[in-house]
């Protein structure tokens, strides 16, 4: 619709960045120059050199290796969080959409409204507070807070395709409910859901890093960007690079998925 080449370019940049980040997460054990957990006090806070390409942290651990393994933690966490989110959102949204206007729909819609009334981060804070800080609990907390938005979208999508001719045909020919959902509804809404998911990968990485930063997520010594940023704060004046690298890592990953998401949305808008 708008400037096509412009949006394609930024999407291409996003895809290249995302491929780099995902592959460094996948290949971390192969490409990391050192063990991310190996403490070596003799070489603490070293500048970039041959053995440690990005230098070492306060415990003499290799910063580059920790960043690479950190990509695993962040992306892995984001994937699980979004998987939880989509699963709950799709189930509730589909049920709600199929029963649109009836009691189950009204109850579920009301429940969604209540969950949406909680600012997401507060709810995540509260859940993680009740569950004890830790990486799995924060994943669970973040997974449980953002499904309501998906449920809303899925509900309206289901309602809009419920009246489609192929749905009527399927119903008339006696297709049972489960088959209807798995063969006709889910495949038809997956494109729209996928677009939101891609955009949300960025904000999920961002939230996860934020909660790890204040110590509620990943726990030492496992390598995680938000926690690395927090640990590096003490050495900010002596060695600013120590804090800059993980900040760059978070920013670039969020940027990558943001650009891809924007591009996908532009394309969908252009099609409709």
């Amino acid at each position: 619709m708008k400037n096509r080449t412009d949006s394609s370019l930024s999407m291409a940049v996003g895809i290249v960045l995302a491929v780099l980040i995902v592959s460094s997460a996948l290949c971390a054990p192969l490409i990391a120059p050192n063990d991310p957990l190996k403490v070596d006090m003799a070489h603490a806070l070293q500048k970039a050199g041959r053995e440690y390409p990005l230098g070492t942290d306060q415990l003499g651990r290799c910063v580059l290796s920790r960043l690479l393994y950190g990509a695993r933690t962040s992306l892995g966490a984001a994937c699980i969080i979004l998987l939880i989110t989509i699963s709950i959102g799709t189930v509730i949204g589909t049920v709600s959409g199929l029963f649109a206007g009836k009691l189950p729909d009204k109850l579920l819609t009301a429940f969604c409204e209540i969950v949406l009334a909680f600012p997401g981060l507060i709810l995540a804070l509260v859940i993680s507070g009740l569950l004890e800080p830790g990486i799995f609990n924060i994943i669970l907390a973040l997974g449980l807070v953002s499904w309501a938005r998906y449920a809303r979208v899925v509900r309206s999508l289901v309602i809009s395709i419920r009246e489609a001719d192929y749905m009527k045909a399927a119903k008339v020919s006696g297709t049972d409910g489960l088959h209807l959902v798995s063969r006709h509804i889910i495949p038809n809404i997956s494109g729209a859901i996928g677009t939101i998911v891609v955009t949300d990968i960025g904000s999920t990485i961002l939230r996860f890093a934020g909660l790890s930063f204040i110590g509620l997520g990943a726990q030492a010594p496992s390598p995680e960007w938000g926690m690395m940023i927090n640990e590096a704060r003490l050495y900010m004046d002596k060695m600013p690079s120590l804090i800059i690298y993980p900040i760059l890592a978070v920013t670039l990953s969020v940027l990558a998925f943001q650009l891809i998401g924007d591009g996908l949305r532009d394309r969908l808008d252009g099609m409709s």
Partner: protein
């Protein structure tokens, strides 16, 4: 479409119809909010009861090897022996009279502790909101006016970067440049305007960039509307068109988003408050999480969602009162 219809409708409909619709709209909003608050309170209460770990241990943490009598009195103090519904109603009664119980950790009334810290969080949220608005409107409007020219590209580039840097990272970069290198601003604490600058910028920049994107796309959408073209044909000044025909109709989603963003700031400020040692409710809640101080966590969740809901409804209502035709009719057309 709804905007155009509303625009035309506002010129033909008599005032009373609009007013009636408005009152109904406001009432509906308020009733929904009350129901939502009730739901929030049930959810919060359940979360407190579902929490793992025995709250009795926390209450008695000061006493070594507590006797059965001490445990029994602690159970009674916490009201753990009654039915869940009775517990909820009692709890709700206390909460409504402003009693959130006592902090497990310090023994002080939670309401008192929270009331000291809440104003700090509000100050931070509103100054962050100011930063956000100061950034968002000029950027969004300039970007749209220079659609697809250099300035538009530059602003959009800035926006997408600013959205991608987490707020606490913006905070750290600010500390690095203004606090550590040049000792220009204090890096922690509160009390003066200077203390407020870095935390507000950290929260406001990203939110402002996100809002600027929405403003831009909203303006561009309405710039193609028929009544705008008509106004152009009639030779209305472009500044007047922007104000009267485009911005007015483009505002409802923007306003709604501002409400959501301010709500997000109240919640998201927990991280920034912790970073800058800002003595607000967020950093208080974070330290309560470490101490497993459930009454504090519960009170925080309840109060913050109440504020969030109230802010959102106030913002919508203020707009509804300012330009009723667009809002009420626009809102109805969506249904």
């Amino acid at each position: 479409m709804s905007g155009i219809r509303a625009h035309i409708a506002s010129n033909f409909l008599s005032g009373s119809i609009v007013e009636n619709a408005m009152v109904r709209y406001i009432l509906r909003k308020i009733i929904i909010s009350l129901l939502v608050m009730l739901g929030v309170s049930i959810l919060t209460f359940c979360m407190g009861r579902l929490a793992p770990g025995d709250p009795i241990d926390t209450v008695l943490s000061g006493i070594q090897n507590p006797s059965p009598e001490e445990i029994a009195s602690a159970r009674e103090y916490l009201g753990l022996d009654e039915a869940l519904t009775v517990q909820y109603l009692k709890w709700l009664e206390h909460v409504l009279s402003g009693d959130f119980g006592h902090s497990y950790k310090t023994g002080n009334p939670v309401a008192h502790e929270l009331s000291i810290r809440l104003p700090q969080t509000m100050i931070l949220a509103f100054s962050s909101a100011a930063v956000m608005l100061i950034i968002a409107f000029p950027l969004g409007i300039f970007s749209a006016l220079h659609h697809n020219r250099f300035l538009d590209h530059a602003i959009r580039f800035f926006n997408v970067i600013a959205i991608s840097v987490p707020s606490f990272c913006i905070g750290i970069l600010l500390v690095l440049v203004l606090g550590v290198k040049h000792k220009f601003l204090p890096v922690m604490g509160s009390g003066s305007i200077k203390n407020l600058i870095m935390p507000s910028l950290s929260i406001g920049i990203g939110a402002g960039a996100g809002l600027a994107r929405l403003i831009r796309s909203q303006i561009l959408t309405f710039a193609e509307a028929e009544h705008v073209t008509a106004a152009r044909v009639f030779g209305v000044k472009s500044r007047t068109i922007l104000r009267n025909d485009i911005l007015k109709n483009a505002m409802p989603p923007i306003i709604t988003n501002i409400g959501l963003l301010i709500g997000g700031m109240l919640g998201g400020s927990a991280i920034i408050e912790t970073l800058f040692s800002w003595p607000g409710a967020g950093s208080y809640a974070v330290s309560a999480i470490y101490a497993r101080d459930y009454p504090v966590i519960q009170a925080y969740a309840l109060v913050m969602s109440a504020i969030y809901i109230v802010i959102n409804i106030l913002i919508e209502l203020s707009y509804c009162v300012a330009i009723p035709s667009v809002y009420v009719l626009g809102g109805q057309n969506e249904k």
